[in-house]
């Protein structure tokens, strides 16, 4: 895109961005706070899948001074190759695509919802005032790491962490560094978007983590954008929007070819050059569901076969992987059994043919 065009698009987006920065936008993660209270607001996430790479863009909101223990844990479908600052306006541009600014502004005032073995640190990085740690480990190990690092885990955390670790033992923990936030002048409510790049054959979006620490009847609200090479099939399957903002469930608001202006705008944002010029499918899903019913994730099949993985959705437990040592032992035992059977057969044949030792 030519610089002049970028500037024009930036100007077109800027007023919306200013409005939306007042809208708290948290990551698609479980918020863990010191006193057990969870003030989770509407979340906005882009899960794009292109050429076997999942691009996960989300934003973390600074909760203000004295909230040093507030952090988020985001389960990931695989080991990320990089975690970098996300573009300046990607999430806002997606919202603009599916919601006229005036409606979005009206919604803005309503958007806030009241609210073993050791884990292995794969890598750590800083994005603005955020401290990011990518961990590998079972639910117990990651939970211990989080507890040891000052995260408060609500009572459902052990079960939820196990739920994720059984399918993918990779987690991203994010927490604001109060000192850097002060130095950089980060304001309360200001979002820091991050972009996680995860090569994976099996993309999914963590949804159950949004209900972490929530009461069963509390309503979870989130916007999830999917950008895929083909029209995706999801599990659970989203229901068509009926126009009622109170409609509950996983609601499909948009499912269409992504417009050229949208793709052009997205690709001009920081770290988004991978977005192709055309041919991408845009799906906008609105989640408006009680915590009790949000016990699953969102599995995506963008291959065109229309078979999203029930394991990725969290409906089915993964098939346990046999320990290599045990597998070797089983093969050895099987081999020994075969040898014994063969030797036994030879001996029987020898005896039946009178080849035994003379009496």
């Amino acid at each position: 895109m030519r610089p002049g065009r970028i500037a024009r698009r930036a100007l077109a987006i800027a007023p919306l961005f200013v409005l939306l920065t007042a809208v708290p936008a948290l990551a698609c993660g479980g918020l863990v706070t010191p006193n057990g209270t969870v003030n989770l607001v509407r979340t906005t996430t882009l899960a794009a899948y292109h050429r076997g790479i999942e691009h996960y863009v989300t934003s973390f909101e600074f909760a203000g001074k004295g909230a040093g223990e507030v952090g988020s844990i985001v389960p990931l479908p695989g080991v990320p190759t990089k975690v970098v600052p996300a573009g300046e306006w990607t999430l806002q541009r997606l919202l603009q695509e599916v919601q006229p600014p005036t409606l979005r502004f009206a919604a803005a005032s309503e958007a806030v919802v009241p609210g073993a073995a050791d884990a292995v640190v794969l890598f750590e990085t800083e994005i603005d005032a955020l401290d990011i740690t990518v961990l590998k480990g079972g639910g117990d190990a990651v939970g211990r790491w989080a507890s040891d690092h000052g995260y408060f885990l609500p009572p459902d955390a052990p079960e939820v962490l196990d739920f994720y670790a059984n399918r993918s033992p990779i987690f991203l923990a994010a927490r604001f560094n109060a000192e850097r936030a002060a130095e950089e002048g980060v304001r309360r409510g200001q979002g820091t978007p991050i972009h996680v790049v995860v090569p994976t054959p099996n993309p999914w979006v963590p949804l159950r983590i949004l209900a972490l620490g929530r009461q069963p009847t509390e309503l979870i609200e989130a916007d999830v954008f999917l950008l895929t090479d083909r029209r995706p099939a999801t599990l659970p399957q989203a229901v068509e929007a009926n126009g009622d903002p109170r409609q509950q469930g996983l609601i499909q608001e948009v499912s269409d070819l992504a417009s050229s202006p949208l793709l052009s705008d997205l690709s001009s944002d920081r770290g988004m050059k991978w977005v192709p010029d055309d041919g991408m499918w845009l799906t906008y899903l609105r989640i408006n569901e009680t915590a009790a019913n949000l016990q699953h994730d969102l599995a995506i099949d963008a291959s065109g076969y229309g078979q999203p993985d029930p394991v990725a959705a969290g409906y089915v437990d993964p098939v346990p992987v046999v320990d290599p040592g045990i597998a070797r032992g089983l093969w050895f035992a099987l081999g020994a059994l075969v040898v014994l059977l063969v030797l036994g057969g030879i001996e029987n044949r020898r005896r039946s043919s009178g080849g035994g030792l003379p009496a």
Binding site: A116, D140, A157
Partner: protein, 141 residues
């Protein structure tokens, strides 16, 4: 004290200690002291077997916290549970029927139940845990 006096005191001390040891051995070996294993898993009490007890039972609880977060093991009636729910004692030193169980720890406590039939509650009062469902009724009868 004379030598005879010292011998008398030593003899009495020996007899008392021997008697105490014998009583202790009988108590430890008593079939009435039942051992119950309890796992704290996914913020739930998983009691091995029937949690019910008989009036006056003495139960040795072996409690294993398999969660990565701390829990509590508090046996008592509703008033006890309410007091702990509203209490401010962050850590409970082990006492009969009450203890804090750190993440991954295996601890024991022995509790003698009332001689009257009824029921008590086993609960955890880390903020939010009781409401989440960390409670088990223990019928006595």
């Amino acid at each position: 004290m004379s030598v005879a006096g010292r011998r008398t005191v030593a003899g009495i001390t020996f007899v008392v200690l021997a008697a105490a040891a014998a009583v202790g051995a009988v108590a430890a070996a008593s079939p009435d002291v039942r051992t119950v294993h309890v796992r704290l898993e996914h913020s739930r009490f998983v009691v091995d077997g029937d949690p019910a007890v008989r009036p006056g039972d003495t139960v040795r609880y072996v409690v294993e916290n398999t969660d990565p977060i701390a829990h509590e093991f508090i046996i008592g009636d509703r008033a006890v549970q309410r007091a702990h729910e509203l209490g401010t004692e962050a850590y409970h030193p082990p006492r009969p029927g009450e203890m804090s169980v750190p993440a991954g720890a295996v601890l024991e406590t022995t509790f003698t139940f009332p001689t009257e039939p009824g029921s008590l509650i086993l609960g955890c009062h880390i903020p939010g845990h009781y409401a989440y469902g960390m409670r088990v009724d223990i019928p006595i009868g």
